[in-house]
C-alpha cells in the first residue's frame, strides 16, 4: 500500500490525540503549552496534506503558514502570561490555579 492522504491523516490524528492528552493531564503550564503546539502541528500536517492530495494546492500551504504565525504569537503571549503567573503564585501548576472559580 503506497502512502497516500489517509496515512498522513492518521499520523495527524495520533499527534492531535497525544497533544490533547498532554494538555489535559499535565500540571505544568509549560507542558500544557507543548501539548498545544503538538495540536497545532497536527492541524498543520492536515493542511499541507490536503494541499498536496486534496486539490487545495498553494492555498493549503498558505493556511499552514498562517497557523505557524499564529503559533509564534501565541507562544510569546502564553509564555509571558506563564511568567506573570509564576511571579504571582510562585508556581505554574494549572490545576492549583483555580482563582477563576471565585
Amino acid at each position: 500500500m503506497s502512502v497516500g492522504l489517509t496515512e498522513y491523516l492518521i499520523v495527524s490524528a495520533i499527534l492531535f490525540s497525544l497533544g490533547i492528552f498532554g494538555i489535559i493531564t499535565r500540571k505544568n503550564a509549560i507542558m500544557v503549552l507543548m501539548g498545544l503546539e503538538l495540536v497545532l502541528n497536527a492541524a498543520n500536517i492536515n493542511f499541507v496534506a490536503f494541499a498536496k492530495y486534496g486539490g487545495m494546492n498553494i492555498d493549503g500551504q498558505v493556511a499552514a503558514l498562517f497557523v505557524i504565525i499564529l503559533a509564534a504569537a501565541e507562544a510569546a503571549v502564553a509564555l509571558a502570561i506563564v511568567l506573570n503567573i509564576y511571579q504571582n503564585f510562585k508556581h505554574i501548576n494549572v490545576d492549583e490555579i483555580v482563582k477563576m472559580k471565585d
Binding site: 490533547i20 494538555i23 489535559i24 493531564t25 500544557v32 494549572v94 490545576d95 490555579i97 483555580v98 482563582k99 477563576m100 472559580k101 471565585d102
Partner: protein, 703 residues
C-alpha cells in the same frame, strides 16, 4: 581604464564617505581627535579617485556622452519594474571633483576650526554623510536616486545647520531650512510622478528619448512644461531661489566650514545641477519661467546683501544672488556658462566662506583672550584693519572677491560674462529685456557689496580692541584658502582670459541637444546640422551648433564691455564710500531711508511669511478651535442636558418597575447557579475536557 572601471571607481568615491560616516558614528567616541584625521583621509582618497575618474572620462571617453549602468531594483512582474543606476558624463565628472575637493578642504579646515568642540567626532560623521549624499546626487542617472539623495542631503544639511542645537536660533534655523525645502520638494515629487506615470521609467536618457520621439505627458506640451516647472520647484527649494530663499541666510547658524561646503558650494548648487540634468526636457515656457525666477532671485538677493552687517549674512545673500545667476543662465539656454558658473562659484565662494571662517575663528580666539563674551564676532563693524593682522586670509579673500565681482583674469569673469552674454542674446531673440537688465544690475551690486565687505572688514584701522588682537591661525586653515584662491584664476578654464568659449571647459560641457520638439521649444535652441569651422583650431570638425550659440558670440563683446563697466562702477562706488569716504555712507542711508530699511530687513520676506502663511494657518486653527469649543460643544452640552432630563424620569421608572423584574429573574438564576456551581472547578483543564467531550458529542450527533 575601461568603462566598467570608471563606474566601479565612481561608486567607490561615493561609498567611501558613507563608510567613514558609519565608522565614526559607531567608533568615533573612542577615537576622539583621530576621527577628524580619519574623515579627512577618507575624503582625500575619494578626491584622488575622482580626479582619476574625471580625467579619464574627459580625456579618454570624450566621444561617449554618458557612461552608465542600470539594474533592476524592484520587479513586481506585470511590466512594473523600477530600475536604478549610476552614470557619469562630463558634468558629473566635473562635479565629482568639485564636491570631493571642497569637501576635503573643509574637512582639513575643520581640524582647526572645530578643534575645541565637544561634538567633534559627530561633526565629522555628518560631514561624511553629507559628502556621500551629495556624490549620490551627482552620480544618479535617474529621478528616483536623485530624489533619494536629494532628501539625504536635506537631512544632513538639517543636522549640520542645527549642529549647535543648544542655541535656539540654530535649532530653529535647521527646522526652517528643512520645512522650507519640503515645499519645493513636494513640487519636485509631483513632477517626478508625472514623468514616471507617463514614461514608466525614472531613467533620464529613456525619458529624453521618449520625449524626442513625441510622447508627451497627457498628450499635451503644456503638461511637459508643467512637469519641468514642478521639477524646478525642487531646485527653488534646494538652491534657495525666490520665493523660498529665506532659509539660506538663517542656515548660517551652522559652523562656518559647513556653510562653505553645504550652503555655498555644493548642496545649494544641487538645484542648479538638477536643472542642468533635466535641461533637454525643458520646454520654451519652462525655460522662460526658470530664467525669470533666476533673474528675480539674483536681483533681490543682491539688493539685500548691500546693507547687511553680519559677515556671513552678506556672503549668504551673495550666494543666493549667484545661484540666481546660474539658474538664469540655464534658463536662457547658456548651458555651458551656467554650469561653469556653478563650478567657478563653488571655488571662490568656498574661499570666501573659509576666509570668513578664518576671520571669525581669529575673532573668537581674540575674544576669549580678552574675556569678552558679549560682542558679536561676525559683525563687520567690529572688524577693520584685518589686512595687516591676517595677510594671507586677506589676499585670498581679495582674490575671491575680485572673482565674484567679475574682474578680468579671474574665473568668475569668464563664467559671469558668458551668462550675461547669454541673457543679452536671449533678450535680442525673444524680447525679454527685463532679464539682462536685472542681471546687469545684480552684477553691479555684487561688485559693490563685495568690496564694501572687504573694505569694512579688512581695510582701515581696527574698529575694536578685539580686531586689533587677531592673528593668523595655523596651516589647516590657510592651506584650503590658498588652494581655493588659486583655483579662482582664469588659467584653469581657458587659455584666453577674456573668452571661455575656446577653453576645455566649454568643449567638455557642450550645450545638450534638446529633446523637446520644435512646437514647444525656442527654434534657436534646436541644433541644426550645418557644418561650421570650429573656431580658430587648426582642424575642422563637424559642429552641430544652435542659432543661439552664434548669437552669444555676436553679443559677447557688448556683454563684456557692459559688465566691465558696471562692475568697475560698483567697485569705484564702494571705494568712494567706504575707503576714501568721499561720500558718507550714513548720509546716503538717510537719503534713501525707505530703501535702506527695506533692504536691511531683507524686504520683510520673513515677516510677510509670518503674517500670511504662518499666522494664516494659526488663525485657521483658532477659528476651527472656536467652532469646536463653542458650537460643537454647545450642541453636545445641550443634548446632554436634554438626555439628563429624560433619564431622571426614566431612572425612577427603572428603579421601581424594571428592577423588580430583574431582581426576580436574578434570584431565580442565582438559585439555579448555586445548584450547578459544583461543576465550575476553576481548573482550565476540566473545562478543556468538557469542551472536547461536548465537541465530540456534537460530532456524533450530526454525522
Amino acid at each position: 581604464m575601461t568603462q566598467d572601471t570608471i563606474l566601479l571607481l565612481s561608486a567607490a568615491i561615493a561609498l567611501l564617505p558613507l563608510l567613514g560616516f558609519a565608522f565614526l558614528i559607531f567608533f568615533g567616541k573612542r577615537l576622539g581627535r583621530a576621527s577628524g584625521f580619519i574623515g579627512t583621509a577618507i575624503l582625500g582618497i575619494s578626491l584622488l579617485l575622482s580626479i582619476l575618474v574625471a580625467f579619464s572620462k574627459i580625456s579618454n571617453f570624450a566621444d561617449i556622452q554618458l557612461i552608465q549602468a542600470k539594474f533592476n531594483w524592484i520587479d513586481l512582474g506585470n511590466n512594473f519594474f523600477i530600475r536604478v543606476g549610476i552614470g557619469i558624463d562630463n558634468i558629473a565628472a566635473i562635479m565629482l571633483i568639485v564636491v570631493t575637493l571642497i569637501s576635503f578642504l573643509v574637512h582639513l579646515f575643520s581640524l582647526e576650526y572645530m578643534a575645541d568642540d565637544k561634538k567633534f567626532t559627530r561633526y565629522y560623521a555628518y560631514l561624511g554623510l553629507f559628502s556621500f549624499s551629495m556624490l549620490g546626487i551627482v552620480l544618479a542617472n535617474n529621478f528616483l536616486f536623485m530624489f533619494v539623495f536629494w532628501e539625504l542631503v536635506g537631512i544632513s544639511s538639517y543636522l549640520l545647520i542645527g549642529f549647535w542645537y543648544e542655541k535656539d536660533s540654530a535649532a530653529n534655523a535647521g527646522k526652517k531650512a528643512f520645512l522650507v525645502n519640503r515645499i519645493g520638494d513636494l513640487g519636485f515629487l509631483i513632477g517626478i510622478m508625472i514623468m514616471f506615470f507617463t514614461y514608466g521609467t525614472f531613467m533620464y536618457d529613456e525619458i529624453f528619448s521618449d520625449i524626442s520621439s513625441g510622447i508627451l505627458p497627457f498628450d499635451s506640451g503644456s503638461m511637459l512644461t508643467a512637469a519641468g516647472i514642478l521639477i524646478f520647484c525642487g531646485a527653488i527649494g534646494k538652491s534657495a531661489q525666490f520665493p523660498l530663499h529665506v532659509w539660506l541666510p538663517d542656515a548660517m547658524e551652522g559652523p562656518t566650514p559647513v556653510s562653505a561646503l553645504i550652503h555655498a558650494a555644493t548642496m545649494v548648487a544641487a538645484g542648479v545641477y538638477l536643472v542642468a540634468r533635466v535641461f533637454p526636457m525643458l520646454t520654451a515656457n519652462a525655460l522662460l519661467t526658470i530664467a525669470y525666477f533666476g533673474a528675480i532671485t539674483a536681483f533681490i538677493a543682491a539688493t539685500i546683501a548691500i546693507t547687511q552687517v553680519d559677515f556671513k549674512k552678506v556672503l549668504a545673500y551673495s550666494t543666493v544672488s549667484q545661484l540666481g545667476y546660474m539658474v538664469m543662465g540655464l534658463g536662457v539656454g547658456a548651458f555651458s556658462s551656467g554650469f561653469m558658473h556653478l563650478v567657478t562659484h563653488a571655488w571662490f565662494k568656498a574661499a570666501l566662506f573659509l576666509a570668513s571662517g578664518s576671520v571669525i575663528h581669529a575673532m573668537h580666539l581674540s575674544m576669549s583672550k580678552l574675556n569678552d563674551h558679549h560682542s558679536d564676532p561676525q559683525n563687520i563693524n567690529n572688524m577693520g584693519g584685518l589686512r595687516k593682522k591676517m595677510p594671507i586670509t586677506y589676499v585670498t579673500f581679495l582674490i575671491a572677491t575680485i572673482a565674484i565681482a567679475g574682474v578680468p583674469l579671474t574665473s568668475g569673469f569668464l563664467s559671469k560674462d558668458g551668462i550675461l552674454a547669454g541673457t543679452l542674446a536671449y533678450a535680442n531673440l525673444t524680447g525679454n529685456w527685463l532679464i539682462p537688465l536685472m542681471g546687469f544690475a545684480a552684477a553691479g551690486m555684487t561688485a559693490f557689496y563685495m568690496f564694501r565687505l572687504t573694505i569694512i572688514a579688512f581695510h582701515g584701522e581696527p574698529k575694536t580692541e578685539i580686531a586689533s588682537n587677531t592673528k593668523e591661525t595655523n596651516k589647516y586653515i590657510l592651506i584650503p584658502l590658498i588652494v581655493l584662491a588659486t583655483l579662482s584664476i582664469w588659467i584653469f578654464y581657458s587659455p584666453n582670459p577674456i573668452d571661455a568659449s575656446n577653453g576645455w571647459f566649454h568643449k567638455a560641457v557642450p550645450q545638450p541637444h534638446t529633446s523637446v520638439s520644435e512646437t514647444y521649444q525656442w527654434d534657436f535652441l534646436i541644433h541644426n546640422e550645418t557644418t561650421i569651422e570650429a573656431g580658430t583650431s587648426t582642424h575642422t570638425s563637424q559642429h552641430y551648433g544652435t542659432a543661439f550659440e552664434e548669437e552669444i558670440h555676436s553679443q559677447h563683446y557688448i556683454a563684456m564691455a557692459l559688465s566691465l563697466l558696471i562692475a568697475g562702477l560698483g567697485i569705484f562706488f564702494a571705494f568712494c564710500v567706504y575707503q576714501f569716504k568721499i561720500l558718507n555712507a550714513d548720509n546716503l542711508a538717510n537719503q534713501f531711508r525707505k530703501l535702506y530699511k527695506g533692504s536691511y530687513s531683507k524686504w520683510y520676506f520673513d515677516e510677510i511669511y509670518q503674517a500670511t502663511f504662518i499666522n494664516g494657518s494659526v488663525g485657521l486653527a483658532k477659528v476651527l478651535a472656536f467652532f469646536d469649543n463653542k458650537i460643537i460643544d454647545g450642541i453636545v452640552n445641550l443634548s446632554s442636558l436634554i438626555t439628563r432630563g429624560f433619564s431622571y424620569f426614566i431612572g425612577h421608572f427603572d428603579n421601581i418597575v424594571i428592577d423588580g423584574f430583574v431582581n426576580l429573574i436574578a434570584n431565580i438564576t442565582g438559585f439555579f447557579g448555586a445548584a450547578v456551581r459544583k461543576v465550575q472547578t476553576g481548573s482550565v483543564q476540566t473545562y478543556i475536557v468538557l469542551a472536547i467531550i461536548g465537541m465530540f458529542l456534537l460530532f456524533y450527533v450530526i454525522i
